[in-house]
Symmetry: C2
């Protein structure tokens, strides 16, 4: 599982910082999460293959998370895309994108499928044999969801060496792979678990931006391998959180601690601060395993 | 009169090229012409003061001329703008921008005034004491206008030395400045023209993008100081012009020649070409004074 940060600063694109967008590579999927203005340029800069993106998740319809989407959708057409593109985002996103395309008398040569979200409860929005995606309802100035990406447990794989050791004949290997127990030469039952490798532990990633401090997310992100949680402000500006519905670095760390996550990744920094190192320092007062997102940074999870 | 090219490539923003946007400084106005995705970042890069932009002209509603506008409008709010912002563009632009702001439960603290265009005839859309702006109807896949920016002739200014030479008393200077003739010591009438300097010749700039080859623009851009005319293709790809409603470099030069403009500036290059120098070469076969627009280039006209 690999996370590439395309942009992680709040409010407006600037010469050297970009608004929110990230790419999660998980089980051969490339999921695009949020799409601020300039995301398509960041995708090119970090050599993400446009054709591998089939699912885009939009947390909310503020410009710094969304204004890059009309352009990206148009560019997909210019690149000759034919495959379906699925867009998950708040109700209204279809009308907005459709209007922009219509005004330009434009269209897509590929099926553009909108999955509009309006539930205030966490819901399963995508599932296949290897991965599932659920919403994480957040509390912001407009309807907003985070997203929880879970790998599914892979099947157990045959341990040929163990089978040999237990004296299990090769003719039973196919059944062992299917999950059945086997017999040794003497007709003794050998449990499947002893003849197979444990699969790798499935990974999980939670994206929570934008949101005010909100403990209702804690059970949803429990023990995830990595939690990206917005930290727009430091505690010195905590008084701005209520009105703007954002969090401080310390508050993000409190969520990470309560949820026993393995790693906390901070982002969505206000551009008022001279250095983002302050965010890490502040969060580490509460939770130790903190990393800072930054544009172009890659996390191998 | 100074023109700063923020972006002049067609279709999509890329790492080192930007879609159409330019800033025209004319008589203390800073006019923004078109606003492709990433324009606000280009404005920052080339140190254009956001607060000096009060008028934005949008030629048509294709993404590479327009998708930067919602973000720029939002950024103006974040920067605390209070002054009116006037947007001139095709009918539908107000609905599109308003929908994007509404979906984000956003607003502007400043008056945002739309001037929606739908006439197929050239019309005067802005005029003050120093400058006028007219539309130049173009022929593209959607409703499109170019824009003609004209300085007005400045008042004649007193030539004190000539007045002294003609023996005209200082008491008449105020009247001379107002345009009246004067008398010398002997009561002889001295025409105003002999007592005043000719004002500088007013400058003019025409922006024509996007358009197929279309001679109806010739009378509108007659003898302008600079004509920016799109040249998406070279003649080797002329067969693409009809379908896409674009021009070749040679065709742009033909318009420049027919209209006896002083300088032709080429832009809106297709990104299929390895070098933009080919465009200049091709155009100079027809018209000599050709310059190439490029991102960040400044023309002092």
């Amino acid at each position: 599982m690999r996370l590439t940060i395309l942009g992680c600063y709040s409010a407006t694109p600037r010469t050297f910082t970009n608004p929110t967008s990230q790419v999660l590579e998980i089980q051969n999927h490339l999921f695009l999460i949020d799409c601020g203005e300039g995301t398509q340029v960041q995708l090119r800069k970090y050599k993400v293959k446009f054709s591998r993106i089939n699912h885009i998740f939009i947390s909310h319809l503020h410009g710094d998370h969304f204004f890059g989407l009309p352009g990206l959708i148009s560019t997909f057409r210019l690149l000759g895309r034919e495959k379906e593109l699925h867009i998950y985002g708040p109700k209204g996103i279809k009308e907005a994108i459709t209007l922009f395309l219509k005004l330009g008398d434009s269209w897509t040569n590929y099926p553009l499928i909108f999955h509009e979200l309006e539930s205030k409860e966490s819901e399963l929005i995508l599932e296949d044999s290897k991965v599932s995606v659920r919403t994480i309802p957040l509390e912001h100035r407009v309807y907003t969801n985070g997203f929880l990406f879970n790998e599914k447990e892979a099947p157990r794989t045959l341990d040929a060496e163990a089978a040999h050791r237990y004296g299990v004949d090769r003719s039973q290997f196919n059944n062992i792979k299917k999950g059945f127990d086997a017999m040794d030469k003497n007709g003794k039952l050998i449990p499947n678990k002893k003849l197979t490798h444990d699969p790798p532990k499935p990974k999980s990633y939670a994206f929570c931006s934008d949101t005010v401090y909100n403990e209702t997310v804690v059970p949803l992100v429990q023990e995830v391998d990595a939690l990206y949680h917005e930290s727009t402000f430091l505690e010195s500006e905590a008084h701005l959180c209520d009105r703007t519905k954002h969090s401080t670095a310390k508050q993000s760390a409190q969520i990470a601690k309560l949820a026993h996550v393995k790693k906390l990744i901070l982002g969505h920094y206000s551009t008022r601060y001279k250095s983002i190192d302050f965010f890490k320092e502040e969060a580490q007062g509460v939770f130790s395993n903190v990393e800072l997102a930054d544009d172009g940074k890659v996390f191998d999870l």
